[in-house]
Amino acid sequence: MSSKVAVIGVGNSKFGKRDDVSIRELSWEAVQESLNDAGLTLQDIDLTIIGSTAYRGVEIYPAPVVAEYNGLVGKAPIRVEAACATGSAAALNAYMAIRSGLAKIVLAIGVDKMTEVGTATSLAIGGRGGNYQYEFHLYGTTFPTYYALYARRHMALYGTTEEDMALASVKAHKYALSNEKAHLRKSISVDDVLKSRVISSPLKLLDCSPISDGAAAVIFASEEVAKKITDAPVWIKGVGYSSDTSSLASRGEWTSLRSAREAANNAYSMAGIVPADVEYATVHDCFSIAEIIAYEDLGFAERGKGVSLLREGQTEKGGKVGTNLFGGLKAKGHPLGATGLSMIYEITKQMRDEAGSVQHQFKKYIALSHNVGGTGHYAYVFVYSR
């Protein structure tokens, strides 16, 4: 048994529309980088957990293909799926394997090739990310529609505006400019967001994260092993998780994600910290409104006041809590299986002071990742320290 678990190696493929590679070569980019980063070889890996939502790629059972290509045959018995939080589900499984004593070094790989099907097919798959029979089947809800329903209610109850939401997208694009791994490296203005075509009102194209291909890999180790291997481990101080109903209508509230609040509270409690202790955060900004709701669910702002952090620049570099300084899901991209592990990649770079021009200035080195699957159907919040 190991009471502590560390991140000792991270890798991240280039995100984007990756027509140049299949899912195998895409995962290779992340896995090789993570092994090199940790200074380990394949022989050192006890167990591999592969996270992939698959479905939008031709490989609907991708784990064996990915494991084989990366030289991990015999070590990859588990594929996990938790919609857009699949990467964090892989991380949680790695964490549990180490905490239990089953394994000492675990590699978590998150990968998805989402652009192998067309947009209408992709929307029909995403729309099923909720309640199929009583919502998608009857009403043709798309994934953007679900968050649009949250956005409309947030606007009506708290006075949040479309301009406010656009600020989240503008911020994401600004930071993605300096991220070589990012899908969308182009700065945009509030006006660009407002003038982009409506996807599901009030959400417009530039309120939405893109459909991306990508992979991320993270190597976790027990305390004993981590201390031998590296001088710069990033420790997992708290893990919080929760889930919510498939049906959106039956939730009874549409301005906040109950599962994310619960995951955050559990993670804070385990880490022994309060929201104000968090210096850097990666939040699940799959849509502009989601970043605003995330601030509230994490306790960075009161309910309904999330947008004030954006307006005041409190979540910018140098702000009270630097958030998504890598470009967020909005601009770095959101390959569902990879996203949660890509967040750990970015946090690790920050915690090692290796984030270059977007380096956040830490005092206590306390960071957090917030990864939501579906519309809060799954939620994972992890707290990190150095």
Binding site: A120, Y134, T145, L149, A156, S247, S250, G252
Partner: protein, 125 residues
């Protein structure tokens, strides 16, 4: 290169839920209630989380209040030929999804009906 297409056609059971699906055709909107603990369910279900399977059907209220809504422009496969506004409407203890007809706002009053296939909410004000 082009991958092999994968056509997936599903057959879904409605056993135990005939009242709901037949109801939509006849203009009825129904939900279930547990006879043991009184829990009400929409989407309807034939088992209660209290452990009982002794459920009854009841008609939901027809007048409701719009909680939120969204007009879908980028449509999924299967809905290309429809123009629609998805809404969530509160009717007493329950919230249900529907298509809204009219010019909704959060707080609008609606009257619910079916079009033979799905629940429609006509915006009253």
């Amino acid at each position: 290169m082009e991958g092999l297409p994968l056509y997936m056609k599903y057959q879904i059971p409605i056993e135990g839920y005939e009242r709901f699906w037949e109801g939509l055709k006849k203009g009825e909107i129904v939900a279930t209630r547990c006879k043991r603990c009184g829990n009400e369910y929409f989407p309807p279900r034939v088992n209660c989380t209290c452990g009982s399977s002794d459920m009854e059907w009841f008609e939901v209220k027809r007048e409701g209040i719009v909680q939120t809504f969204s007009e879908v422009f980028s449509k999924p496969q299967g809905f290309e030929d429809f123009s629609y506004i998805v809404g969530i409407v509160n009717v007493g203890n329950l919230n249900l999804m529907c298509w809204l007809v009219g010019k909704p706002r959060v707080g609008s009053r609606v009257m619910l009906r079916t079009d033979g296939t799905r629940v429609i909410g006509d915006v009253v004000d």
